[in-house]
């Protein structure tokens, strides 16, 4: 289940639109660029963008409707055949309400000769068309493209009924860029102003242009990098937020106060309990004595009473039933609704239970860290509940259907939450869940045969955020697909494995761990060495690649959440075989991360217990990589440590 969100902005202005049609105006070319033989920002780059310019201009068309005009310009130097292939064709998709014109492209050979794209070689087609959707595409192939050439192309987009607001302007591409320039021109509207917040780059100071544009620029931009445990998209690349706001609001010290007050106003009246809600709350609170227990009980009721239809598991028929919810009582009566309806019902239940429950706004950590928050409502789009308890606040997301009782999803943890209040703003940091909350528990009962074959049953339980992740990933799959995926995953790790009696339990029951159960048989699991068998008891880690295996890294680390693992593996040894050496194992404790292995032998039954705790989450700077790498390298090595079994003499 994933939320399906829709953000709409409607603002009306009156001004004048000017979109003159024009032939391509190519920018002057630096001869040094023509002579360039090697990339200058990244020696391994297949191509580098020499210049990337976008003009963004809000205007008004003759009918009085606002429009946004985008003028794109890209100049790229090709260094390799991969670069040539990557830029061989250009596709410009556009939906209804968008007009694409003035497409032009040309190739400049190293000798300075130019091959222009002919207008007849620009193709337009309707990619998909239905009653309420039409997506078209303009496409062309770049002529005479070779290594060493410069290709440049430009086009204009007219977005009707549009304003350049809540835009996330990207300043990096999948190739390095020498110069990125965005030119912004806002509509002049009394009482409103355009705001722009830059992120993650050494941006030059905004420069006013003569034609009313303001230029934002960045130079020598590295290509985007995708690494294991990397940063969220908006934290790992340079970008600029652009939006409109009432003048003076965004830079006002009272921004929090305004938003906090707005939040309170929006929810407080609608979340008043009805008699039915009071009855529900009373029934749910039986036996709950602490605030935390009450909150959990009420979150479960809210979740169970409203089936969400703003999620990807809902059908079109479900969505057609979507109607505006007036208040909590209305939400309860309908029994279907959105995440907001579930929250509304929870707030009403909490009110009925005499808890001080408020709506709270925050950002998703999958998008932005607290450090990147800016005084604009678009930066805090998510809604949860905050319950005053003792000296602090309990946070709950009753709409999180795959948590046991409204626990926050990982991306709502460790975020700055702004709590709705009519008088003064309150903020608090949402807590991080402990490592024990997200547990991978694996239990195996196996028998080792004297030819090295291992057979037995495995049970894998995933709780906390692991359970949420698996459920979200798999709730749309069929049972056959889930089993197929599980088989493929295991086969990749343990080539030659035979799997049977596969079960996937508790997919839709978040009160229990998401569970996989299966039997396996692996011929030759224990390696032979003459009269010995070499056994890796860490069966669930066999064939798993090392975390952070790359010796170097380019970007900081981001751990979504803390987690722990517990393996208990028992192996019945083949008759006559016994360990040849000591079974002692060394654990290690690196503070936030801990590894605890233990091997015992009782008769012919070997038991391997493995505990791993990674009690850390959030952002870690690049200089922490090597310590993390060293820890996980040691874990990988310890997991691979074998036990040598030797047949006793005379057997």
């Amino acid at each position: 289940m994933r939320s399906v969100a829709c953000h709409c902005v409607t603002v009306l202005f009156v001004a004048m639109l000017a979109l003159p049609a024009s032939a391509a105006e190519w920018k002057p070319l630096d001869p040094a660029h023509l002579a360039l033989k090697q990339p200058t920002i990244d020696p391994g780059a297949d191509a580098e963008a020499l210049l990337w310019e976008v003009h963004v201009s809000d205007e008004v068309d003759p009918s009085g409707s606002p429009s946004t005009v985008y003028e794109h310009y890209l100049r790229v130097k090709i260094f390799t055949d991969r670069g040539r292939e990557a830029f061989a064709t250009v596709d410009i998709p556009f939906a209804s309400g968008i007009e694409v014109r003035d497409v032009a492209a040309r190739t400049i050979r190293p000798d300075g000769s130019i091959v222009e794209l002919k207008k007849s070689d620009i193709y337009e087609r309707t990619v998909v068309k239905s009653d309420d959707l039409k997506v078209k595409m303009k496409s062309f192939a770049i002529p005479a493209l070779e290594r060493g050439t410069i290709v440049e192309y430009t086009w204009r987009e007219l977005h009707r009924d549009s304003l350049a607001t809540n835009l996330k302007l990207r300043f990096s591409r999948d190739i390095p860029v020498h110069d990125v320039r965005y030119y912004l021109r806002a509509l002049s509207v009394p009482g409103y102003q355009m705001v722009a917040f830059p992120f993650n780059g050494n941006f030059a100071a905004p420069q006013k242009q003569k034609d009313g544009f303001t230029m934002l620029s960045l130079s020598n931009v590295q290509a985007q990098v995708d690494e294991e445990f990397g940063l969220p998209d908006l934290e790992g690349r340079p970008w600029v937020f652009v939006g409109y706001e009432p003048s003076g609001r965004s830079d006002s010290p009272d921004f929090d106060k305004h938003l906090s007050s707005d939040l309170y106003e929006e929810y407080s009246k609608r979340a008043r309990p009805t008699p039915e809600i009071r009855q529900l709350a009373a029934a749910a609170l039986t036996g709950a004595t602490t605030d935390a227990a009450k909150v959990a009980a009420l979150a479960r009721v809210a979740r169970d009473k409203i089936r969400r239809i703003d999620v990807d598991t809902a059908t079109d028929s479900d969505r057609r039933q979507l109607k505006e919810t007036k208040n909590a009582g209305d939400a309860l009566r309908k029994g279907i609704g959105t995440a907001d309806d579930v929250l509304l019902l929870f707030l009403a239940l909490a009110d009925a239970a005499k808890l001080d429950a408020r709506v709270a706004a925050l950002a998703s950590r999958a998008q932005l860290f607290p450090r990147s928050l800016r005084p604009h409502p678009a930066f805090m789009p998510e809604r949860i509940a905050a319950i005053h308890s003792g000296a602090g606040w309990l946070f709950v997301d009753p709409a999180n259907q795959y948590s046991a009782a409204g626990e926050l999803p990982w991306d709502f943890e460790m975020q700055r939450a702004l709590i709705g209040d009519p008088r003064q703003p309150m903020t608090a940091e949402t807590p991080a869940s402990p490592a024990a909350y997200s547990l991978k528990k694996r239990v195996g009962v196996f028998k080792l045969l004297d030819d090295g074959t291992l057979e037995g049953e495995a049970r894998l339980e995933y709780s906390g955020h692991w359970g949420e992740i698996f459920r979200n990933d798999e709730d749309q799959d069929t049972a056959a697909d889930r089993e197929k995926d599980l088989r493929e995953l295991l086969t990749k790790r343990l080539p030659g494995v035979e799997m049977s009696d596969v079960r996937i339990d508790n997919l839709l029951d978040p009160s229990k761990p998401y569970t996989n159960v299966y039997r396996i048989r692996i011929a030759g699991y224990a390696q032979r060495a003459g009269s010995r068998l070499i056994l890796q008891p860490a069966i669930f880690q066999k064939g798993v690649p090392q975390m952070f295996a790359a010796p170097q890294r380019k970007t900081p680390l981001h751990f979504p959440f803390a987690w722990s693992e517990l393996d208990v593996v028992t192996i019945e040894l083949p008759e006559g075989y016994a360990p040849e050496a000591s079974l002692d194992r060394q654990g290690f404790d690196a503070g936030a991360a801990k590894y605890e292995p233990l091997v015992t032998l009782t008769g012919s039954r070997l038991t391997f217990t493995r505990g791993l705790s990674v009690a850390t989450s959030g952002l870690y700077e690049l200089n922490t990589y090597q310590p993390f790498r060293a820890f996980f390298e040691a874990v990988h090595k310890a997991d691979g440590e074998p036990i040598v079994l030797r047949k006793k003499d005379g057997l």
């Binding site: 391994g44 192939a141 002529p143 028929s317 069929t478 080539p495 030659g496 390696q527 390298e633």
Partner: protein, 648 residues
């Protein structure tokens, strides 16, 4: 948004209650069949296509389709669609209903989607139009749909697949013939089936057809699904488009389409001369032109498909100027360049993606989806492994200029062994392209290493490739940026040498040169110490060993492509350690492959030699247990560990 959905919901509610929809008679007739079914997620009750060809060359088609949806996954069966080419074809009508017991409701026609069929071409006019009720239909309901289309035919030939993704009760194809016309048919991948005659109609029908299997390592679906191929012939005085009763007819038609495309212009001639300047050997001159055409960017722009545009190349001069084109454009450019230096050549039509797709029994251009080239070289200049003897045209070297990783003189493995047509008026039959044995697709790996006393392995690795193994290695190196290539290589090496650091990589790039892959490896903790023993695994690259699927319920064969991997590992052992346990030589011979492994202890060192040869083969389900046994034995032998002990 909300108000619009509300209005829509109200409208639908009214539609389903106040004015109950009515099913067409054909659908009402099959409704009793909805009761009782298999355990599949959906069952197609009827898949019926009826065609009629008019004397105007237009084909009119009516599709009737009904599917019982049994569970959530089966909702994908609630769709009916048709491919068409604007300008020469159109979907005239498309309607659908959902039946729930006795209640019938219309599927909203506003859900009709019209989309490009192919989106990775710069332009392709072929489209698909369909109506899906996937998000409306529920378990237990029946999706019913009918579609009517019209198309100006390019060929009076059809190919129908006779099996679906879902089990199918009735699968019927009907052809209504004009008086005096005749038709021939043949079934591939299934038993022969003669049509039933019903007046002017020919009817091919299958009942209770099992679902198309989707199994790992299965042959291409086109090599498994029963395919019905039909050719229609009009009497001499009547016109009908694209009639073929012989391969020579097909060759003549294709030759006429590409007529003149092989003639060089001045620009083409100049480029051909420049590319071959200083090269006297004919084979080398053809190879030089081949390399040039290989670098022409592959770009597909498909226009005029309904008029045979899919078979007609663009002028070579245009392709040269733009430096891009599709397979037929590249073949035509290469023909023109070869002609400019006095070398004769021909276009070769074949099917890319399934070497068993093209069948000699059905003479039809529709069997081809790819164009390559055959070059007639003087016998003294012919030294390519991809050469064939053509009964009319003599010795020909076959080359695919679209594949940038396979050098001149060789053929991509997936094209080897396929039937192809040399486009020449004198071609009377298909030719079989050469199929090279496993040892042509070889990887030779040498690992020379030193094992330190602390278990660290320091080694240099050299890999030499031939045939398809070489093409794959080049494709990997060319397809990945340096960082991604390093990461790919590190992961591959880590599968057999855990925690290995990979450095000093030199990798094969150029298809025309025989370049090895070399790199160094440093792996701390490679040899593990336990008690007084040192355990040394052998770093064989067994990660690519095929996983033989279980034979249980297996319906299709397992397809294995040919390869040979030879490895020699030499490890210098640390002082003070001696070999304790060494395996005896292993030799495993089976119809599924051959495997040898031997350990050769020498003074202070250990050498291991391993060779695994897999021939091209299709393993039937009944043979899978034996095949699995072979691969398990190999895997077990690969995982053997050498034990070292301290010298007394």
């Amino acid at each position: 948004m909300i108000s619009r959905l509300t209005v829509l919901a109200c409208a639908l509610a009214l539609a389903s209650t106040a004015s109950a929809a009515t099913l067409p008679p054909w659908a009402r007739a099959i409704m009793p069949a909805a009761a009782g079914a298999t355990t599949a997620s959906a069952v197609v009750l009827v898949d019926d296509v009826a065609l009629a060809i008019g004397t105007d060359g237009k084909m009119r088609s009516i599709k009737h389709y009904a599917a019982l949806i049994r569970d959530r996954a089966g909702r994908d069966a609630a769709v009916l669609r048709s491919v068409y080419v604007p300008g020469s074809g159109a979907v005239k009508s498309l309607r659908a209903w959902i039946v729930n017991g006795g209640v019938v409701r219309d599927v909203d026609a506003r859900g009709i989607i019209d989309a490009s069929l192919v989106n990775n071409d710069v332009y392709n006019e072929v489209r698909i139009r369909g109506l899906s009720a996937r998000d409306d239909v529920s378990a237990g309901e029946v999706f019913v749909a009918e579609l009517e289309s019209e198309e100006q035919l390019l060929f009076s030939q059809f190919e129908w697949t006779m099996q679906n993704q879902w089990p199918t009760r009735v699968l019927r194809r009907t052809l209504d013939l004009q008086p005096g016309w005749r038709a021939t048919s043949v079934v591939f991948n299934g038993p022969a089936q003669e049509p039933q005659h019903d007046g002017s109609n020919l009817i091919w029908e299958r009942r209770d057809v099992a679902a198309l299997p989707d199994e790992p390592a299965m042959p291409a679906a086109s090599d498994v699904i029963p395919r019905l191929a039909v050719s229609v012939f009009a009497p001499a005085q009547t016109t009908a488009p694209g009639q073929f009763d012989s391969w020579q007819g097909v060759a003549k038609w294709l030759d006429a389409l590409s007529d003149g495309s092989g003639i060089p212009t001045a620009a083409v001639t100049a480029k051909a001369r420049a590319v071959t300047q200083g090269i006297s050997d004919e084979f080398d001159r053809a190879a030089a032109i081949g390399r040039f055409v290989q670098q022409v960017q592959y770009i597909s722009i498909q226009t005029g498909v309904g008029r045979g545009g899919g078979y007609q190349p663009r002028p070579p001069a245009l392709v040269l100027e733009r430096n891009y084109g599709d397979c037929k454009d590249k073949a035509a450019l290469m023909r023109a360049m070869l002609a400019a230096v006095g070398i004769r050549s021909y276009v070769v039509s074949l099917y890319s993606g399934d070497r068993n797709y093209v069948r000699a029994e059905w003479a039809s251009p529709q069997q081809f989806n790819h164009a390559i080239i055959a070059i007639a070289l003087h016998p003294s200049a012919d030294r390519g492994a991809s050469a064939i003897d053509h009964p009319v045209l003599g010795k020909l070297v076959i080359f695919d200029p679209t594949d940038e990783h396979t050098p001149f003189g060789e053929l991509p493995l997936h094209e080897q062994g396929s039937l192809a047509l040399i486009v020449h008026p004198g071609s009377t039959a298909l030719v079989r392209l050469p199929l090279l044995p496993a040892d042509h697709h070889a990887t030779d790996r040498a690992i020379d290493g030193v094992l330190a006393a602390n278990g660290t392995l320091s080694a240099s690795v050299h890999e030499h490739y031939t045939g398809e193994s070489a093409a794959t290695a080049r494709a990997l190196r060319n397809g990945l940026d340096p960082q991604s290539y390093l990461e790919m290589l590190r992961r591959r090496v880590a599968a057999s040498i855990p925690r290995a650091l990979v450095t000093n990589i030199t990798a094969p790039v150029d298809a025309s040169r025989d370049q090895p892959l070399s790199f160094d490896v440093e792996a701390p903790g490679f040899a593990q110490q336990t008690g007084g023993l040192v355990l040394v695994p052998m770093p064989f690259d067994s990660g690519t060993l095929l996983q033989i699927p279980s034979a249980a319920d297996r319906k299709t064969a397992v397809l294995l492509e040919p390869s040979v991997v030879s490895e020699t590992v030499t490890l210098q052992l640390p002082a003070g350690l001696t070999l304790d346990d060494v395996q005896q030589p292993i030799r495993i011979e089976s119809p599924f492959g051959r495997y040898t492994l031997e350990f050769i202890p020498t003074m202070g060192a250990l050498r291991a030699r391993r060779r695994l040869e897999i021939p091209l083969q299709r393993i039937d389900p009944a043979e899978l247990p034996a095949a699995k046994l072979f691969f398990d034995q190999v895997r077990r032998a690969d995982s053997d560990v050498v034990v070292l002990t301290r010298k007394p």
